[in-house]
Amino acid sequence: MPPQDKTTNLTESPWPIGEMLVKAGQISLNHVEAALAHQSKQIEPDLIGEILVREGIISQPELMAFLVAKFFEERKEYAAQPLPPTAIRFAGVEKTLDGRKVLDRVDLEIPQGKITAIIGVSGGGKSVSLKHMIGLMAPDRGQVFVGDQELGSLTKKQLLRVRERFSMLFQGSALFDSMNVFDNVAFPLREKTRHDPETIAKMVRKTLAQVGLSGMDAKFPDELSGGMMKRVALARALVTQPEIILLDEPTAGLDPIIENAIHHLICDTFMRARYTMVIISHAIPQIFNWCHHVLVLHEGKILESGPSVVVMESQHPVIKQFINGNLTGPIKVI
């Protein structure tokens, strides 16, 4: 069979990472086929990369570097592409907390299957927006749509069902102190699925391996570093294989190396499963490299939204001051 035919077959295959690696010339199709020949069970699409790593065809860091490089290419191309469908939409959302208007008639759209970053100064309403997306907070006015479902019109039961489509990584990780790493990650599976304990154990170990925490099962949250806690929280968010992942400052309080590692991990995760991801971040300007789309939230309003490469070049004085971290400008700090 000529190589072109093989590539055509590969395009239709359910293993996107193997396909990308072959197309990029990183590995040959024979390698992929040899690796798959060893697999007795049906291949999970997001596992193909792991199989290639396990078979020694490509190393884990090489695979991650490849995926990240592909993501960077994709991120640049995103600006020129038509907007993807909307996963989450705010229509005129208002929220007042402790007498202060935190969200002021906010209209926003989160593109489906992309990474969206929400940035802005502290207290600008970012975390409150995230909590509205998952229905942990209800707007005083306006509507929040997840797909075509308006959260305000749902019954409690329907809202719980919508939440099952989400996972959320909280700013402080929100790991359960009384549970070890394994139980923390297994928790949503035990509570929300009917998998048997063996399947749950398998899923948990696979996810922990994905975030680089194999063998840490028995550790308790107070025995983990900040970076490890974030990774456990990420594993807990990923293990249920949700459609949408919300990440509230996943790199807050971490050193630049761990911050970079977490960004790589998020990107790697995205490239394997193509979740819709929403990240709140103060990692400026790094976050512009790790997302397709950016929303700038300031004093409860959306100042700008669009592809990260476009927003980064914004001439809006508030955005410029925020990105450059200047003390002087429209944002009065001191």
Partner: protein, 235 residues
Amino acid sequence: MFLFLLTSLFGVVRPPYRLDNLLKQIVFIGIHSLFVIVLTAAFAGMVLALQGYYILSRFGSEGMVGPMVALAIVQELGPVLTALMVTGRAGSAMAGELGVMRIKEQIDALESMGINPLKYLIAPRVEASLITLPVLTAIFNVVGIFGGYLVAVQLLGMSSGTYWGGIESKLAAKDIYISIIKSFSFGLIVAWVCTYMGYFTTRGAEGVGRSITSAVVLTSVLVLIWDYFITSVML
């Protein structure tokens, strides 16, 4: 606050039933409070017998020490002191634990997973409190009466037959019934107030401290107020 109680009670009766969660709370509220309950009961019975003996001897009625100790403990001190001890030991811990879970966003994390925190966190605590308070009160009553026996009979030289005979003749089934009803209602108050205070904690570590204090103070006051009302109705 009433809505919180009703929703939690609804969580108790509605499946799925989490037996492991319930057992954990029974151990925490019941087994772990046992030592303090036994200690308090023994000394409460002892001091009651001591005081009672000297007061009653003024009227030549020292033979009534047994019934006095038993009735005071079974009807009043047993349920009230048990509730106050459990509030101090387990209720404060409940408020603190839930408060920390609130400020560390663990309760939000449960909600974000589509898990009802009232069902998962509050219902087992309410249920365990309703089960353990009557049992702890029964233990308090028995130990307290034995504490009185030690002082009245072994220390003050009263006859064992007079002590036990007096109790047997004066302590009625109704007294035990009152004790059970009181302890059951106190169990509800302890779990309700302490979990409510912890669940709605705000403003960080300081807020957790405030929740614990409020939980202990409010529960203790409510137990004493409710005790007055329920006693006046049941006597």
